[in-house]
């Protein structure tokens, strides 16, 4: 089985011979370029002109995603929405990562801290995710802040769980005991001895957190929490298109949704490939 796979690797791949590492890097680069270009393009779209003459048009060459009831180009609205989703996803992932790193390192301090971290993870895991996001976004009074905090404060649990078990293993190492005996502080050990070893887990965790954050952002805005109706967020676009489903305007819902799906898939692709590169077992294949 393994031999066969290796043979496949040596085969021609697209234009030239490539090994797994080159392939992975190429996939990561292409996905990253697509995402970055979506993001940059979205910053140029400010106010979309309304042309009521062109209202509710089917997709055409002029309007690849069709137009909505106000005659706005859906392609531009979708790109703008994806850009907004990316920003929210980015901020939310940053918050979540910070929380999981802090909690992961905190669990290295002593047994009590470890139990407390486990308890908080359990507490957050015991309420369905979407209900928890609604709860937190209500606490922040809704709006953009509510969405960002709701998504950001709830996505740290999987990464924190991984980091906690990593930290548990690292704590049994001899150099940690040595450092403790030398009288180094807990914080010093956590930042100098433990943090460098979990960096690769953190990187992979962050990239895989991103698509979840974007999806939940879309879900929460779809339900009507947070962003006002005129913001071109994907969730808002989709919930607006619900009103036009019955009149047969399928493009209003189809294209924004599939664009979101593609962005999420690209992030998954990047995450998986980065993991392949960082994991020593698969990196040398």
């Amino acid at each position: 089985m393994i031999k066969k796979n290796k043979g496949d690797d040596k085969k021609q791949w697209f234009l030239y011979h490539a090994n797994l590492r080159t392939k992975t890097i190429v996939i990561i680069l292409i996905s990253a370029i697509v995402i970055v270009s979506i993001f940059i393009a979205s910053t140029f779209i400010k106010d979309l002109p309304t042309h009521f003459i062109n209202a509710n048009q089917m997709p055409s060459f002029e309007h690849p995603f069709g137009t909505d009831w106000m005659g706005r180009d859906m392609f531009q609205r979708t790109i703008a929405g994806l850009g907004l989703s990316l920003i929210v996803g980015f901020i939310a992932s940053a918050i979540s990562t910070l929380i999981s790193i802090i909690l992961g390192l905190l669990s290295s301090f002593n047994r009590f801290a470890d139990e407390a971290v486990a308890g908080v993870i359990d507490l957050f895991g015991s309420i369905p995710h979407i209900i928890l996001i609604i709860l937190i976004s209500i606490m922040f009074g809704g709006g953009v802040l509510g969405v960002v905090m709701g998504v950001g404060l709830t996505h740290w649990t999987p990464l924190a769980r991984v980091l906690r078990s990593e930290v548990k293993e690292i704590r049994t190492k001899e150099y940690i005991h040595l450092a403790e005996n030398l009288g180094k502080s807990k914080i010093w050990i956590a930042t100098k001895h433990i943090l460098p070893l979990i960096v690769s887990q953190i990187i992979v965790g962050v990239i895989l957190m991103f698509p979840h954050a974007i999806m939940h952002e879309a879900a929460i805005t779809f339900l009507g929490f947070g962003l006002p109706p005129h913001e071109p967020a994907i969730g808002v676009i989709l919930s607006e298109s619900m009103n036009y489903l019955a009149s047969g305007s399928w493009w209003l819902a189809f294209y924004p949704g599939i664009s979101l799906l593609i962005v999420v898939l690209l992030f998954d692709l990047i995450g998986e490939n980065v993991e392949k590169l960082l994991n020593p077992e698969t990196a040398q294949e």
Partner: protein, 329 residues
Amino acid sequence: MNKNQILKFFGYKLIRFVILMIAVAIFSFVLLDLSPIDPVSAYLKGAAVSESQRAILESYFGVNVPLTTKIYHWLVQLIQGNLGTSLIYRAPVTDIILEKFCASAVLMGLSWLLSGVFGFLIGIVAGKNKGSWIDKAVKVYCYAIQSAPSFWVGMLILMVFSIYLGWFPIGFGVPIGVKSTDVTFIDWASRLVLPTLTLSLVGLAPIAMYTRNELIQVLSSDYVLFAKSRGEKGWDLIQNHGIRNILLPAVTLQFLSFSELFGGAVLVEQVFSYPGIGQTAVAAGLQNDVPLFLGIVVVSAIFVFVGNLLADLSYYLIDPRIKESEFSD
């Protein structure tokens, strides 16, 4: 089998349950108390009242009572089963949750069962034919559906089946103009089909992927090689060595998915206007109905806990190895 061990297991779970519920209750209460929602304004919904009436309402809702006292009252009432009065429905929260949860339970239970059975079967078929077009199709489907927002899948299904084909009504738990108590079984069932289909299609992906990967791992193991050399092949091999090994973790995984199931129900009910607990949660959240929302948070936490408990139980009760090792020593 030792009765003491079983009692110990349930006792431990019970203590955990109580601690977790208290934590969830306090946590959600504090969060909502910190929110800028003013209970009096939420109650009045913009109706004009005089200052003195407002003061009466403020004292009724306990606006100026310290947080610790409020938490104490909330916990005491919660233990007595009194969750307060909903501001939207003007009825006891427990009654509303009970009614809505039953509607959702049918939806969630059916989709849970369907997604589990079909996900497992599809996973087995894909894993057996690794590398074939079936396997590739299953993989593409699973990746796509896991990256797609579930409400969008619901909208597509609604468009195809209700609007283009016209097979099913567009939404609502009962036809317009009919009392919810007078609804016929057929009407009700026809409105259940599409939400169930959506939730099943979405929920099937993780279990199918898991089963596929596990089966491939089992099939590349040494004992399967040995079984093959003894002459076992085809479905017999899968049945004797594959399914026996994979079924239990798959069942456990399915029980652990209660949290996602609930989340999916919230979104899908919103798309199909199905009058379940998810739609009620969204309405309560949007209209600042704090008592109802708190009640739903607690109920959903119980729901997830039950799922996790069943997952643990399935390990203890189904797997003979664990039963022996845990209960005999």
